[in-house]
Amino acid sequence: MTEPVLEVTGISKQFPGVRALDGVAFRLFPGEIHALMGENGAGKSTLIKVLTGVYQADEGRMTLDGAERRVHDPPHAQRLGISTVYQEVNLCPNLSVAENIFIGREPRKFGRIDWARIRRRSAELLARLDLDLDVTAPLGAQSLAVQQLIAIVRAIDLDAKVLILDEPTSSLDRGEVERLFGVMRRLRDDGVAILFVSHFLEQIYEVCDRVTVLRNGRLVGEYPIGELGRFDLVSRMTGQELHDLEQLEEAAPAITRGRRLLALEGAGRTGAITPVDLEIHEGEVVGLAGLLGSGRSELARLVFGAEAADTGRVRVGEETVALRTPRAAIDRGIAFCPEDRKADGLVMDLTVAENIVLALQAARGWTRPLPPRRRDELVGEYIRKLRIQPPSPGTPVRNLSGGNQQKVLLARWLITRPRLLILDEPTRGIDVGAKTEIQKLVVALAGDGIGVLFISAELEEVLRLSHKVEVLRDRTLVAELANDGSLTPERLLGTIANGAS
């Protein structure tokens, strides 16, 4: 290979309380497709934002074509030849394909826009990528995949030397992904350097030449894809040092499972999760393991009816039900603490007490308010039980720390006495003390006969708490592993990396 077209060294970026990037180095050669891999908080998106000038790095150097550069802002990055296509196509669906390709840089003739030239040139550019479209049709009429290709066309016509594709495949189907890969390979052969971010492991192995792995804001390494097996890639991304895991106490909890609470029979949703078979029993903790974007949250939302299944059947107890809305799931004793506490969980305007009673009150309807005495008792009881700090019901919930906010969410559902509790990343971003308390609570709840569906990015936590672990990979449930002592962290990691073991 020749000289790298883009090279950064020693890049650091500090946010209040977080060191998002810490001395990261990264190289991109012309004519390669390079994967950037990492779990949540690894620093992928921060690095991309530094490369494209959205953020300014605190430290570090960047060279482009051998010359040292600073990128001031995204338009500057484009002028330097770094173009980005985001997951959410940021073009205008109401404008025509040709207008979108030339928006902001329309060729002019006598001061007026040269429409004929725009149309002709757009058709040429699209033809280069084997796209045969009516360039005067509105962009919104095209499929998402084609819109993405058009965004790429626009990006490369800006003389891009570096093309950053940030999760372009997350909402594409198989055929569309193939088409995109075809375009990517063609661009690579033309000498464009492509940085590709995807959560789909198979896609990385299918299309990429090299991979850079980040973890917790640090560079783990840069590898030719052929020399890094799936297992090694996953263990480097998750940072699970195997010997650490093996020291885990053998807490594989005794199996005291009761009647079946819920069964998914081929239930799935197009574009979110392929059909799944899954059973959850009383007193059973079912762990969901998999990488970010593997379909963990999608499965949880399916079980709760936040997104309705479009295939298969769902049974609650013996009854077949259509869980089309959260309301339907809640009425059957299912509760859900979502991953994003702020956006999907708490109502930040309201107080701790109001947030705690919200689910119970929603179930009772507005005409039957909780009697004030009963309400104060319940709120007081759960503030004590879960040790919510500060222990004052009237505090606005926005003033609480992350861990205490999580406890408020838990309290909200616990007072409804659910039979099945879905916890999506309940321990993420909270301090160690609160984390342990929540883990203990999960064990205690299962002991009381509640079924728990437990999602966590930390394998250690999943292994410690779960009776069985469902492994997801690329939006598919690939394996169900009983946590009966024979399940080693190594096997779990292997399944996440390679599929069914």
């Binding site: 959260p326 309301r327 708490l346 930040m348 305007d349 109001e354 919200l358 039957r368 308010p369």
Partner: protein, 358 residues
């Protein structure tokens, strides 16, 4: 520092942080200005067993605005807005006056007019929930179309009704010394407060307005609540429509309640309810509406030239909005480490007052 002083200072600080503090302070300030400019402004006289005086007038003439603002509060709490209230005012007045002029009894006229308002509220609510039209557009339909409906009812004329009919009492009558309109407002505000705070309606509305997705995931059926909000709003506007038409014994499809939606939205915002939805305050809205009405009265009594009226209003409204803006208060507060007590209110408002007549 002696401890009593410290305690009273802490109490004062808590008082100034109360969400109603600044709206009430502005209202009191306006009243004081009036009392200074117009001797006898605060006096309340009894004549023929009825209470009279400027304060009573503010309440009586402000009654329709308070009614409309009350309904608007519920809609804004859900994160919506209702632009059609002015038209509903016109329609309800037209309907009631038309029926009475056709010889129907008062009860029939009010019942049918009330029913029509329910339907109009339902229409708004269903457009917003079932068809997911943005509230501002959904209610714009009735805002424009409603004037047409009112015209249809009145046949394009101004319907006048017999001054002796009982209808006149709603806007102009007295009961136990107080104007009937004021009593209706008191009863409505009390009813709304009970509805919102003694049931769980207020909590669920605030939840829906504060975080729609979280509310869905907690199992709140938002559509029903939102429809209820629009229906309540239309009914409040309808009652305001009776007050306005009864006061002049005539229904004017074109001008009754014109632009009242803007005053109502302003009253809600002055009262401390954010247009983004969530937390709402009924008391705040009442104070907000009273500020607007007092302002109108002040403009007359203080002899402010009519051509500067709108500028004067704008200045006061800007001032109140600034006082309520956390960003602005943080800036002022930083310069003033002590308790921000009334003094911060006085100088700027005095400035405004000097500016205005000039």
């Amino acid at each position: 520092m002696n401890p009593v002083n410290a305690v009273s200072r802490a109490n004062l600080a808590r008082l100034t942080r109360h969400r109603l503090f600044w709206p009430v302070a502005v209202l009191v300030l306006l009243l004081v200005v009036n009392a200074v400019v117009t001797p006898g402004f605060l006096a309340i006289r009894v004549r023929d067993g009825h209470l009279y005086g400027s304060l009573i007038d503010i309440l009586r003439f402000g009654a329709p605005l308070i009614m409309v603002s009350l309904g608007m509060t519920m809609v804004i709490a859900t994160g919506g807005i209702d632009l059609s209230v002015g038209s509903v005012v016109a329609i309800s007045g037209a309907m009631a006056c038309y029926l009475i002029s056709e010889g129907q009894g008062l009860a029939v006229a009010l019942a049918l007019s009330f029913g029509l308002c329910l339907v109009l509220g339902l229409w708004n609510g269903l457009l917003v929930t079932r068809l997911s039209i943005q509230p501002i557009i959904a209610t714009l339909i009735l805002m424009v179309g409603g004037r047409g409906i009112a015209q249809l009812i009145t046949g394009g004329q101004i319907i006048t009704i017999d001054r002796d009919s009982g209808y006149r009492e709603i806007g102009g009558g007295h009961l136990a010394g107080l104007p009937v309109a004021v009593l209706i407002v008191l009863a409505s505000v009390a009813a709304a407060a009970v509805l919102a705070r003694r049931t769980a309606l207020g909590l669920l509305l605030e939840s829906v307005g504060g975080n729609a997705e979280a509310s869905r995931l907690v199992g709140i059926r938002a559509s029903g609540l939102i429809v209820l909000g629009y229906v309540f709003c239309a009914v409040c506007a309808g009652v305001a429509g009776w007050m306005i038409s009864s006061d002049v014994s005539a229904a004017d499809g074109n001008n009754a309640g014109l632009w009242i939606e803007l005053d109502a939205i302003l009253a809600v915002v002055l009262g401390g309810t954010a247009l983004t939805g969530g937390r709402f305050s009924i008391a705040g809205t009442v104070v907000g509406a009273l500020i607007i009405q007092t302002l109108n009265t002040t403009i007359y009594t203080a002899g402010i030239p009519p051509r500067t009226t709108l500028v004067f209003e704008a200045a006061v409204v800007t001032f109140v909005c600034l006082l309520q803006s956390p960003a602005f208060r943080a800036k002022v507060g930083r310069r003033r480490p002590g308790g921000p007590v009334p003094p911060p209110t006085d100088p700027p408002s005095a400035d405004k007052k000097v500016e205005v007549p000039a």
